[in-house]
Symmetry: D2
Subunit: 177 residues, 4 copies
């Protein structure tokens, strides 16, 4: 039973992108890495800062509107189609809707073998990394730390608080079949 | 008959990305903008400079290998699925294989209404813009200028040599239904 | 009389960065290219969006405060010192204070041979390029188009409205001694 | 005795940039952050991959030539002048020449109060972070890990192997006067 998709879910600054790149390096096959950041960059500029699209408050809150949600459904369907067409895909996402977000992905990925991975990081440590990276509003990591995992069911969880991205990736890779 | 996908094909530095962003700004509906650059960035780092993946020579030549081509088929299928799921999508691509590249997209986009747009730019002017942008190997624009259009059939063509990206976008937008 | 510094002054989206990269390519000696964007990126994140630092309004207005101005004086002195230490430097800047901004640079660059270049672009064309590049608030180009040139004295002016960056660079290079 | 300049020296992927941004956040005054990456980006494209400029081998080796070295002397003089003009500056650098690199900076910074900080990271951990960040040739971190500290004298050293950038920055900040 081949793993078709690896879904990494975690709060902003929890370390998903680094794990994703390390997974690409340690897994023997080539995997595409795509994430919610790519979807946001594909939006019209006008939707990248609007009520209908996605809004980032200075305090780190993120709100998404109707146009974003409609396009996100299509984006998700597209990722699923890539996997069905033979690409192995690592998805990194932020389940702002917790269990509801997972159900949306489950529906899109029907029939595919998915490895669900929770990426945790101590909220204070993530807040520090948010300052160190310098490209995210301060507060986003803390606001998302708990909510994105609420009701979500994982095959495994990793925690980047004291574990390097590469080591987390090796742990995850051991579950890929 | 609603246009589902706009495909912009042109050589490196012909102005596709700028036209794509302008299209997103002038078209009344929200359109996703995705291109071959996004696909390349989604590849494992090891494939971004290898014979099996994609290689950029210092003289601007681009070669793609078996792993790239397999993932590209899946990427194309994914874009088509996004459009079928309701997203309107602007694709920018470089048809290194000319007519063959178009046939691959036509197959993937079966049943969708596609506006095929050729983006031209005088080869010398494009070579100058390549220097001005500073992030592409010199020579790529000139090498690709003709070959990407060979045998390709368009609904319309625009030329950025003397026409601004926004004006090209307005011309294209007038053909979107 | 060797030219030590080339100062390119123009509004946002008038094409300064492209000209700067082309100048580096066409001038036989190596020139460093530094600009106000580099200075802003060197600021603490907290000053990149604050009254004391620099603020970018959604309508494209730019305001700078006391902390920005103090650091900008030091930045300018540093650029001058690089030139005095033997580096040839292309500076690109936006003279939000018009003649006053030029006087500040003149004072810092005392004793150095400076080529003052005005970079113009039709306001409507620049506004279109602002959309095409996608990384500047819409309106900035138009707001700055006139004000940055008020009272400023140039050795030569170039206009990117109908002239490519590379051609502008060649014109400027002909004045470099 | 006010600290004018903080010099962070460490190998690639040791965590200097993150510490620098955290220092800007925790220090009460505004500090400019500038580093060798900014200097490289200011070079003509032709020097960013040439024997006379700077060359990055696929194995992570870095070589610098005569043109690079001449411009680097001027860059260093410019940073010193910024500090003398009142800007407090955090410099991050990679002392490829070990003690010789430090002497060059000491000469440029004569008369200024400098806090010399060594940034260490276990070579294996840094190699993992190099994969996770994805924008550096693999091997650079390991190649530089020891050589950049050879003969260099510090006021304090921090080690990012098990300590977060923010905590390292707080340690450093306690030594800033």
């Amino acid at each position: 039973m081949t793993t078709h998709v690896i879904v990494l879910n975690g709060a902003s600054s929890s370390g998903k992108s680094g794990i994703s790149r390390c997974l690409q390096a340690v897994l023997p096959d080539p995997w595409l890495a795509l994430g919610v950041d790519n979807m946001v960059e594909a939006l019209p500029a006008s939707l990248q800062a609007s009520e209908k699209g996605i809004e980032f408050s200075p305090d780190g809150a993120v709100n998404v509107g109707s146009a974003f949600m409609a396009l996100d459904v299509a984006w998700t369907a597209g990722i699923a189609a890539m996997a069905r067409a033979g690409a192995r895909v690592i998805v990194d996402d932020v389940f702002l809707g917790g269990a509801g977000s997972q159900q949306r992905w489950q529906k899109a990925l029907t029939g595919l073998n998915v490895l669900w991975v929770g990426v945790r990081c101590d909220s204070k440590v993530a807040a520090g990394r948010e300052i160190a990276r310098g490209d995210r509003p301060q507060g986003m990591a803390a606001l998302q730390a708990e909510v994105v995992h609420q009701g979500v069911v994982y095959d495994l969880e990793v925690d980047t608080t004291h574990t390097e991205a590469l080591v987390c990736a090796q742990t995850i890779a051991a579950h890929v079949t």
